[in-house]
């Protein structure tokens, strides 16, 4: 089995003898070492959450944006190289706007995901560019219902009920699989997401949680969860974690 430094990993336009494109896999590694990012598709909306690891103590709050609106009814969260993420979000915003002006209606989630995936894939074909080191999660809520898609650095797009990427993805996926997302509301999911984030966060450095939702409650508009509500949810989540710890240590 080929590994690092065996010459097939220098360019994204090269296959290895066992049929792998190493550069795409290395791009995925960039995502795996970033802060945890969650997506949950509930019965009345979609929730996106990002664990923003502290870059610097001098950083202004909310300056390190990770969730972005794509259109009124859709938004995205990025995991991995933030700069790459912004480029993809830019493109997604352009696609959504172009679709609306051509076809007169808001872009359906599946079409948006297809377009972003095609765009990301292009950067896996040519030697003169490098792949995006980003996993993009797209949330949308239109007459087709709430939808959650994830596009990985290779350009593959899938539809999910719940998905987690980044450092704490193993623990997060475990917790997510215990939840019955199709029966939960976004409000309940916010609490669950905060709890999972605090549980899987590892390291002495703190982190900032960023939540964004599009649900019936927000009038099917994509919005970031405000500071007050966020603090409430986080406090409840931390309390629940402590209570569990107490139970376990008895």
């Amino acid at each position: 089995m080929s590994g690092i430094g065996t010459g097939y990993d220098l360019s994204v336009s090269t296959f290895s003898p066992d049929g792998r494109v190493f550069q795409s896999e290395y791009a995925q590694k960039a995502v795996d070492s970033s802060g945890t990012v969650l997506g949950m598709c509930c019965k009345d909306g979609v929730l996106l959450a990002a664990e923003k690891l502290e870059i610097s103590k001098l950083l202004e709050e909310n300056s390190n944006r990770r969730t972005f609106p794509i259109d009124k009814h859709a938004g995205a969260v990025v995991a991995g190289v933030s700069a790459d993420g912004r480029a993809i979000v830019d493109r997604a915003q352009g696609e959504a706007s172009n679709y609306k002006s051509m076809y007169g209606d808001a872009i359906p989630g599946s079409v948006l995901a297809d377009r972003v995936a095609s765009y990301v894939h292009v950067f896996n074909l040519y030697w003169y560019v490098r792949p995006f080191g980003v996993c993009t999660m797209l949330a949308s809520y239109d007459h087709n219902g709430p939808q959650l898609f994830m596009i990985d650095p290779a350009g593959t797009s899938h539809k999910y009920y719940g998905v987690a990427v980044g450092k704490g993805r193993q623990g997060a996926k475990n917790e997510l699989s215990k939840l019955k997302l199709a029966d939960m509301t976004v409000k309940e999911a916010m609490f669950a997401a905060a709890k999972i984030m605090h549980q899987v966060h590892d390291g002495e450095k703190g982190f900032e949680l960023e939540l964004a939702i599009v649900s019936d409650e927000t009038g099917r508009l994509f919005k970031r969860v405000g500071k007050a509500e966020l603090q409430e949810v986080e406090a409840a989540a931390k309390a629940a974690i402590e209570a569990e710890d107490l139970d376990m240590s008895d």
Partner: protein, 265 residues
């Protein structure tokens, strides 16, 4: 010697370099230039039919654009929409086709009524049929009526100086049910419960306003459309022939043909 310029002869282009020519030749040139400029602005044949008719040209009538001087309409009923049109295509005073089908299918559940220049509307329809087919592949399902209307309106607006097309898009989709969109000459798009268009529609504006009811059954709506188009055909010289209707709903599409001698008048 100063030659007096005659006044009040209209806006002949006054070019001094033509002065040396005889008066008759000069005026012939003025008329030709004006004609050409006007014809170019309208995209028509340069030589006017009047001149050719006067000079005994047998083929003068072929210079007239083929137009759908027409009556078209569409209306929403309980479960969907009904579209209706007359069947006359005229080239000047010659009826090129007395059994025209002006109700064109854009996709399974979306049709368009065409009025104005036959060439313009046929080509616009062809573009949109292609666009909608491509779009439905990306979408993974049937296109929506709003999309078809938006595409046509975009084409109509962006090419407004070259086109003469009055369109009514109507159909049924899962998202919004039965819809009627009117796209008149400039490229506006307006959604309404019912719409009328074409030269004959002017004669029935009062009639349709007074007799339209929301929530009719398919048969009632079809009969209403047929009666209204018949009234327009009886007064408009550019409308005539028979009445074609198309009824579109979730159940499917039904075409009807009412012969010219069986019109309800």
């Amino acid at each position: 010697k100063e030659k007096k310029r005659s006044e009040g002869r209209g806006n002949r282009p006054r070019v001094d370099s033509l002065r040396p020519l005889s008066r008759r030749l000069r005026h012939l040139i003025y008329r030709f230039v004006r004609n050409t400029m006007n014809a170019c602005a309208r995209g028509r044949a340069v030589v006017s039919t009047n001149d050719r008719a006067q000079s005994g040209d047998q083929h003068a009538h072929t210079d007239q654009p083929v137009s759908l001087g027409t009556t078209i309409m569409a209306a929403c009923y309980k479960d969907g929409v009904v579209l209706g049109a007359d069947s006359r295509t005229s080239t000047g005073s010659y009826v090129a086709n007395r059994v025209t089908d002006k109700l064109t299918k854009l996709s399974d559940h979306i049709y368009v009524c065409r009025s104005g220049s036959a060439a313009d509307t046929q080509n616009l329809s062809a573009y949109v049929i292609w666009f909608l087919e491509q779009h439905s592949m990306e979408l993974g399902k049937e296109p929506e009526v709003l999309t078809a209307a938006k595409l046509l309106a975009k084409l109509a607006y962006e090419n407004k100086s070259a086109l003469q097309a009055g369109l009514i898009v109507a159909g049924w989709d899962e998202h919004r049910g039965g819809q009627v969109y009117s796209i008149p000459l400039g490229g506006t798009m307006v959604e309404t419960k019912f719409a009328i268009g074409g030269s004959g529609s002017a004669y029935i504006t009062g009639l349709v306003d007074a007799t339209f009811r929301e929530g009719m059954t398919e048969d009632e709506c079809r009969a209403w459309v047929q009666r209204s188009v018949t009234h327009a055909m009886s007064r408009d010289a550019s409308s005539g022939g028979c009445v074609r209707t198309v009824a579109i709903s979730a159940h499917g599409v039904r075409r009807d043909f009412l012969e010219g001698d069986k019109l309800p008048l």
